[in-house]
């Protein structure tokens, strides 16, 4: 694994802070009704992404996830202004305003969405790994899903096929405790989701998803295994989301105390504590990072606000590769 250095910690701090503040900004503009639809925020789960990015080979490896997907592409190098613009439904968005919150994509950065049907992306992730193997590439696919999706049949078919065909894929369950308002305990007779891999003889283990170091180590092992032809791994990241499932969630299924307990092990705080205790940065330098993040988020908002809405033709042009597809005429 690449060494975890002072630079790593500083990058983690700045990245995770950006993701947190980016999501907070979205919550704010959602309340102003500038962003509509469903909005699922990543707050609390940042270490799962930060650790994975440390272990990935960016530019080669692929990622796919569900609908809590705004910050992963940013982590992989997508311009955050374009992600914000997508949520505003603007022409400058990553999907030119066609996808919205749940459907962020970047072919260039190998971020494959952004999928709104719970568990529907799991076989797609296996398929991306299938394609890379078919094409003799040593790229690895990181296939994410939540604890809710772990109860879908798609998980089992994908696990079986991935093991049968020895695909270069890492399956990662981000167990944030709740499938919308249903706790993990209420969805199965046991709570150790990672054990679902064992029936397929897939290397499987739980991991502290609040700690980027633990995540990076587990991910590095899994990615190396896949890249060397060792096949899939299943990791259960035990994490937590501070905000509701989506913005419309009153969160009556949990207590405020529970949320506060998790905030004590907040991934950003954990990283900042290390930076401070090891004197990786002065308070002035930390303040500079905070200011940079604040300015960038502001810039994202401004870019999205200033961007134009898409042209009507886009609605048709995006559907088929065929340029002259004869759509049924619409509206008199």
């Amino acid at each position: 694994m690449k060494k975890i250095t002072k630079q790593t910690y500083l990058k983690w701090y700045e990245d995770m802070l950006l993701w947190r503040k980016f999501e907070d900004k979205l919550a704010a503009v959602y309340i102003q009704q500038k962003v509509r639809g469903f909005l699922h925020l990543y707050n609390g789960q940042e270490a799962v992404l930060a650790g994975a990015l440390h272990a990935m080979e960016l530019g080669k490896d692929r990622m796919i996830t569900a609908y809590r997907n705004h910050v992963q592409p940013i982590g992989m190098g997508v311009d955050p202004r374009r992600v914000m613009a997508e949520l505003y439904g603007k022409a400058t968005g990553t999907s030119h305003g066609l996808g919205g919150s749940m459907h962020i994509f970047s072919k260039e950065k190998r971020f494959h969405g952004g999928h709104g049907i719970v568990g529907g992306q799991i076989p797609l992730g296996a398929g991306m790994a299938f394609g890379d193997k078919y094409n003799n590439s040593d790229a690895v696919t990181l296939c994410y899903f939540g604890d809710g999706a772990a109860r879908q049949g798609s998980l089992h078919e994908s696990f079986n096929l991935a093991m049968l065909w020895n695909l270069p894929v890492v399956f990662i369950c981000e167990n944030n405790g709740y499938a919308m308002g249903t706790s993990v305990a209420r969805t199965a007779n046991h709570e150790d989701i990672w054990k679902l891999g064992l029936g397929y003889e897939m290397p499987s283990e739980p991991c502290d998803g609040m700690d980027p170091v633990a995540v990076a180590k587990a991910m590095d092992k899994a990615i190396s295994r896949a890249r060397k032809g060792g096949g899939p791994t299943f990791l259960e990241m035990k994490t937590y989301r501070y905000r509701g499932h989506s913005m419309s969630d009153a969160q009556k299924y949990r207590t405020k105390d529970e949320v506060e307990e998790y905030k004590k092990i907040d991934p950003i705080t954990q990283v900042l504590d290390v930076i401070k205790s090891k004197k990786y940065a002065t308070q002035k330098q930390i303040d500079e990072i905070d200011a940079r993040v604040k300015a960038l988020v502001k810039e994202c908002e401004q870019f999205a606000e200033d961007s134009p809405f898409p042209e009507k033709e886009l609605m048709y042009d995006a559907v088929y590769e065929q340029k002259d597809y004869p759509f049924i005429p619409h509206k008199l």
Binding site: F105, G127, F130, S158, L161, V319, Y320, Q322
Partner: protein, 325 residues
Amino acid sequence: MRTIQFREAIAEAMSEEMRKDERIYLMGEEVAEYNGAYKASKGMLDEFGEKRVIDTPIAELGFAGVAVGSTMTGCRPIVEYMTFNFCLVGIDQIINNAAKIRQMSGGQFPCPIVFRGPTASAGQLAATHSQAFENWFANTPGLKVIVPSNPYDAKGLLKAAIRDDDPVIFMESEQMYGDKGEVPEEEYVLPIGVAEIKREGKDVTIVSFGKIIKEAYKAADELTEEGISCEIIDLRTVRPLDQKTILDSVKKTNRLVILEEAWPFGNISTEITYQVQSQAFDYLDAPVEKINTADTPAPYSPTLLAEWLPNKDDVIKAVKKVLYK
């Protein structure tokens, strides 16, 4: 010209395209070692090897999703369903992923994939194995839907489907795989979205597609003896629908009968009926007639199944009705 079976036309189309393009693979239940549940991939494992002709476990959701996912890395898969009835356990992967990923990604991820296999009834297979979902798929923007009725069309259209950069649903029939027809040795490709007038006539237009069109041919033969001339249009593609060929014919004959093996509520015939009344209202000399299956799940018993299915007598009655005879 040489004569080959429908299943051979399918295998030829896939094999010819796979020889030219390494990105294409065939995946499905029993496609490799068994040579296809209906032998539509006979010899392909031997020629292309197990990397490109891939047996799957019975996991229609899983392997359809894997195939769709692989298009994002440049693959061009052909997915065989043993029948389209079985795709229902994984239809999410067709409707929500294959049909939409290009649009949702703002055009970044096209999905060049073919889902193929038999549709509709095939003898006394009863309710779950006799369904025709052409209209389900044709209702979905992002997909194209092809339903050939003979070996020549099947080969030319399957080659077009494999070359197409959009997801294509290609629907065959267990009862057509043994059908023989003339198919040239030379390579040819047929255009998607173009219907064909199989028989020219002047008194009435009959529109149909897939294996049930044979009932229209039989009816037309009998009606010829009564001096009634039927023009038979084979849609071949139901999405996009070749409205021009239908409208031109209706404007000539002024009468329309549609024969489709599908449940009657909101099917392809319904759409054609709407389009014709909307665009050729003044040309019609009689209300449009449509002939479909009964509005029930398919029954098993032979007498009931015969009652459930449309047949040539139904076509003859409908033709006479629109001719007021």
